[in-house]
């Protein structure tokens, strides 16, 4: 009785296995006659989603000034240390980058810099294919990185919120009271 059962078990197993094999052969066979889904890349460039992590840019605030305040957060967040900069005080009192450099030969496009950027200056764009003959040409300086638009969030203006008197007097930033009058007679 047991043997018989065993035999049916073995037979079933073999049949199941064969069916499984046949199934996979059938699946690939049907694929053979499907239209390929491949897109012919250089001829057809697929529009990339806005949040694709490609080449990095430095954007500008709505007033056309540089957004980057050279706070060193992106270079601090960068896992491959491909960002370096030097901050300085600009003529309008705003903190800005004296120079700003990204080594794209080293960049891994992880997007941590963009997440770290508190002023939305540094943004990754969908542009992913930019090739160079010499590896030094992948070192982008501030002038190469700086664009004249606001990127993904064109309305944000860090210096409208910051509360530091750089071009915009104290108390005139968004959500701020007038400066305290230390000599006020009000109790």
């Amino acid at each position: 009785m047991e043997e018989k059962k065993d035999k049916t078990g073995l037979l079933r197993e073999v049949l199941d296995g064969a069916a499984g094999l046949a199934g996979s052969y059938a699946a690939t066979l049907t694929h053979l006659f499907r239209r390929p889904v491949t897109e012919q890349y250089p001829e057809y460039k697929r529009p990339m989603p806005a949040r694709t992590r490609g080449r990095i840019i430095l954007t500008r605030s709505p007033d056309g000034k540089e957004r980057c305040v050279a706070c060193y957060l992106c270079s601090g967040a960068c896992p491959v240390n491909c960002i370096s900069m030097q901050s300085e005080e600009g003529p309008d009192g705003r903190r800005r980058a004296a120079w700003f450099r990204i080594n794209f030969a080293r960049c891994i496009y992880c997007g941590l810099c963009e997440e770290a950027c508190p002023t939305l200056a540094l943004q990754l764009t969908p542009e992913f294919a930019f090739c160079k003959d010499a590896i030094e040409d992948f070192v982008y300086e501030k002038e190469d990185l700086l664009v004249d638009h606001g990127g993904k969030d064109p309305d944000y203006d860090f210096y409208a919120h910051a509360g530091v008197a750089a071009g915009r007097p104290k108390g005139e930033h968004i959500g701020e009271d007038e400066p305290v009058d230390v000599k006020s007679i009000l109790p």
Partner: protein, 785 residues
């Protein structure tokens, strides 16, 4: 000694310790903004709330305000305490601006740490933010009041701890403002510490503004080389440039703070004028060529005139490593020297001052803060050793009697008695105050017959010193002979350079001084000279004048001194920031300064657009300099000399790895030499020349630091007592011409009763070094318009 339990761990602390400090001794850091170990508790920020589960206090309390008591059971992460602290942060953040990216405190900001670690991310409070207008607080401190969280640390430090009253709180309630009456530079010479103690970005370091984030800096423990106290510092460097110097806690020396001279005089290391290239006969050349040339030239002198014709000069600003290497080099070659001091008297004085410390009589800065009577003899604390003033202030706050017997006008942020006495009168005053018996009025009048205005003060001071249980004598080495035999008195010499004590430890008892070498050069006995991190002009004008008589002058230095300009062969050396080194401070405490900045021209100035190179093929510019000690060794090699260097253990009895965090006191002090004769009245008529340090730019390094030089007073000032001014027919504020040797210096006259009779106080600057010991009307003349 209360026993308590914090977070399940038992701890025993001294009575009176607040719970927050008890927790810190266990390594549990309770969040805090207003509490500071040096300033104590204010209870202003409410951040250090912890839960007291058992003991004399129960419930949620501020751990800084509650002294540890027996039986306390404290939980720092009790949910109620955590919630409370989270709400405190939320309240503080309700008005805090949204400007961390442009704030220099970002990266080492207590408020930022607590906000982020506490999880506060969204401002729920819909109201508007309070703002303030800022003030210009001078060149050192940047003011940004919006960021203030009203912890009162700055005001407590500035007013209570330091005793300066031009900066503090104003207004009330939600409008409290920390600032000055009107914009203007802060008066305190300790103002730089405000940037360190401010827990947020309200007061930040202005010279380091926008330079870098803390995490991008290389940091290393260092030792301040700007006076003889050897305060502990931390140097921060980025891109081959020291960008900031901060206080490091050394409980035995400086506590938590340093003075502005120590904080802002670091610029000499990266200054544009710093010589970084070897020179042969004034022409830039390679290091190896210059070394070979130095070897050949010195070898030539030895061959022609014998080894005695070569002399070595070191200085009190070199590290112990350099000093020992120099000594070994001189011994190996059989050369003269090294000379570390201007003249034999000074050398003996420093040795005698150190010798007097034997027998446990040395006091540290921290111990001065606990003394009950302090006499500064020939020392003007704020200028000779600024941090001494802060320690005196702490002593005075605890009720100590402080007296300063010094010919120079003294200002101190504490109640003290100034005894303006000419140098030759100081021993007498010291004898009156440090004698075993309280001096009586008659003795005082006998000792100082010409200073009746000081009699009442002395009559008041004498019994106070006689009754003091823990008095300290702070003295200049020239007055080492006045160290009282009375063992009650602790001793605290103030020396002439950051490593003057090291020089005295290293130097042979019969080593020549600079003046001896100058004499030998004039006599034609010495033909070759090695100046190692020493400026002949600043050390001894006579030596500087003798330099042209040499056949060979080899200079090792990193400062653009006049000697560098005169060098036949110049070898660039590394600074303390680059090579590291051991310094021995005034109380013979050896401390190691670790290297922090890589050698080389700062990236900001290496001629490639101010940023690091894109290609790394080329050699870094300005990386020629080597540690002076290493240069000595190479020079010995070039000349075939066998040069064994002294070991660290020779001075301390322990190896460098066993050095205590506070430094290690030298165990081998100079044997008591014949104490130098006390200063006596100069022969002939005239005013005794007394040199005065300014806070900035008068020390050997500060002179070459651009930032410090910018703080130096524009005009040189000569100070006289009104009687002496009248005797010379000069009036306050008059323009003077001072004749120094064959040069004329322009200066203005300041007349003050705080200057000793018979003394002329002149600035300690290299140009003034040639003045004779006493000057008269032929030297001080009204400037002809």
């Amino acid at each position: 000694m209360p026993d308590l339990i914090i977070d399940g761990r038992p701890v025993r602390v001294p009575k009176g310790t607040p719970v927050i400090a008890a927790a810190e001794s266990l390594g549990i850091v309770i969040p805090r903004f207003c509490w500071h170990p040096a300033l104590g508790a204010a209870g202003a920020c409410r951040m250090c709330a912890v839960m007291f589960l058992d003991g004399p206090v129960k419930g949620l309390e501020m751990s800084c305000m509650v002294p540890a008591a027996d039986g306390m059971v404290v939980e720092t992460f009790h949910p109620e305490a955590v919630t409370f602290r989270r709400r405190v942060v939320e309240l503080l953040m309700a008005n805090h601006p949204h400007d961390c990216p442009v704030c220099d405190e970002g990266g080492h900001c207590l408020l930022q740490d607590e906000t982020i670690s506490g999880g506060h991310a969204l401002r729920r409070f819909p109201g508007r933010k309070r703002t303030y207008l800022d003030q210009d607080l001078g060149p050192f401190i940047q003011h940004e009041m919006n960021r203030c969280i009203h912890c009162y640390r700055c005001a407590r430090f500035y007013q209570e701890y330091c005793g300066y009253l031009d900066f503090g709180p104003m207004q009330n309630a939600n409008r409290v403002y920390f600032g000055r009456f009107a914009s203007g530079p802060l008066e305190s010479p300790f103002s730089g510490n405000l940037a360190d103690i401010c827990p947020t970005g309200t007061l930040t370091d202005k010279p380091g503004r926008y330079k870098s984030r803390r995490w991008d800096c290389q940091r290393a423990p260092s030792v301040c080389p700007h006076c003889s106290l050897g305060c502990a510092t931390v140097a921060l460097s980025r891109y081959r440039e020291v960008v900031r110097v901060e206080a490091r806690e050394n409980p035995a020396v400086n506590g938590h703070f340093i003075c502005d001279r120590g904080r802002y005089s670091f610029g000499y290391a990266a200054s544009a004028e710093r010589p970084r290239q070897a020179r042969a006969d004034g022409v830039p050349t390679s290091m190896s060529t210059a070394l070979a040339l130095a070897g050949t030239r010195l070898g030539g002198v030895v061959e022609a005139f014998g080894p005695e014709a070569v002399a070595v000069v070191g200085s009190a600003r070199s590290s112990l490593e350099t000093q020992t290497a120099l000594t070994a080099l001189a011994r190996a070659g059989g050369w003269r020297g090294p000379a570390f001091f201007a003249d034999r008297t000074e050398q003996q004085a420093v040795a005698a001052a150190l010798a007097a410390l034997a027998g446990g009589r040395a006091r540290s800065l921290a111990e001065i803060g606990q003394a009950d009577a302090v006499l500064c003899l020939g020392v003007s604390p704020l200028h000779d050793a600024p941090m001494l003033a802060l320690s005196l202030r702490q002593a005075a706050r605890a009720g100590a009697v402080v007296a300063v017997a010094d010919p120079r006008p003294a200002t101190l942020p504490l109640p003290f008695t100034h005894l303006p006495l000419a140098p030759d009168k100081l021993p007498g005053a010291a004898a009156l105050l440090t004698g075993a018996e309280a001096a009586d009025a008659a003795a005082i009048q006998r000792a100082l017959p010409l200073s009746p205005e000081l009699w009442p003060a002395l009559e008041r001071l004498a019994p106070a010193f006689a009754a003091a249980g823990n008095p300290v004598l702070v003295f200049a080495p020239a007055l080492a002979a006045q160290a009282p035999a009375d063992a009650r008195f602790g001793l605290f010499p103030v020396l002439c350079g950051p490593n003057a004590a090291g020089a005295a430890l290293v130097a042979d008892a019969d080593a020549p001084a600079c003046d001896d070498l100058a004499r030998a050069i004039e006599a034609g006995e010495v033909k070759g000279l090695v100046l190692a991190e020493a400026d002949a002009a600043a050390l001894s004008p006579r030596l500087a004048a003798a330099l042209p008589g040499l056949e060979t002058l080899v200079v090792l230095d990193h400062l653009p001194t006049p000697s560098f300009a005169a060098a036949k062969v110049f070898l660039p050396t590394q600074t303390l920031f680059e090579s590291g080194g051991t310094l021995c401070n005034n109380e013979a405490r050896l401390q190691y300064a670790a290297p922090v900045a890589p050698p080389g021209e700062p990236v900001s100035r290496d001629g490639r657009g101010g940023h690091p190179p894109r290609d790394y093929a080329r050699k870094l510019p300005g990386t020629d300099p080597l540690p002076a000690a290493a240069l000595c060794a190479v020079l010995a090699l070039e000349m075939g000399l066998d040069m064994p260097a002294l070991s660290f253990a020779a001075f301390t009895g322990v190896g460098p790895e066993d050095v205590a965090p506070e430094g290690t006191r030298a165990t081998r002090l100079p044997a008591a030499p014949t104490a130098p004769a006390p200063p006596s009245a100069p022969p002939g008529q005239g005013l005794v020349v007394v040199r005065d340090d300014a806070l900035f730019a008068t020390d050997a390094y500060g002179r070459y630091a651009p930032l410090a030089r910018a703080q130096a007073p524009a005009a040189s000032v000569v100070r006289l007592h009104p009687d002496d001014a009248a005797g010379l027919g000069l009036a306050d504020g008059e323009a003077l011409t001072v004749t120094v040797g064959d040069r004329r210096i322009e200066a203005t006259l300041a007349v003050s009763a705080a200057v000793a009779r018979g003394a002329a106080v002149v600035p300690r600057l290299p140009g003034w070094a040639g003045l004779p010991a006493a000057i008269g009307p032929e030297t001080l003349r009204r400037r002809q318009p």
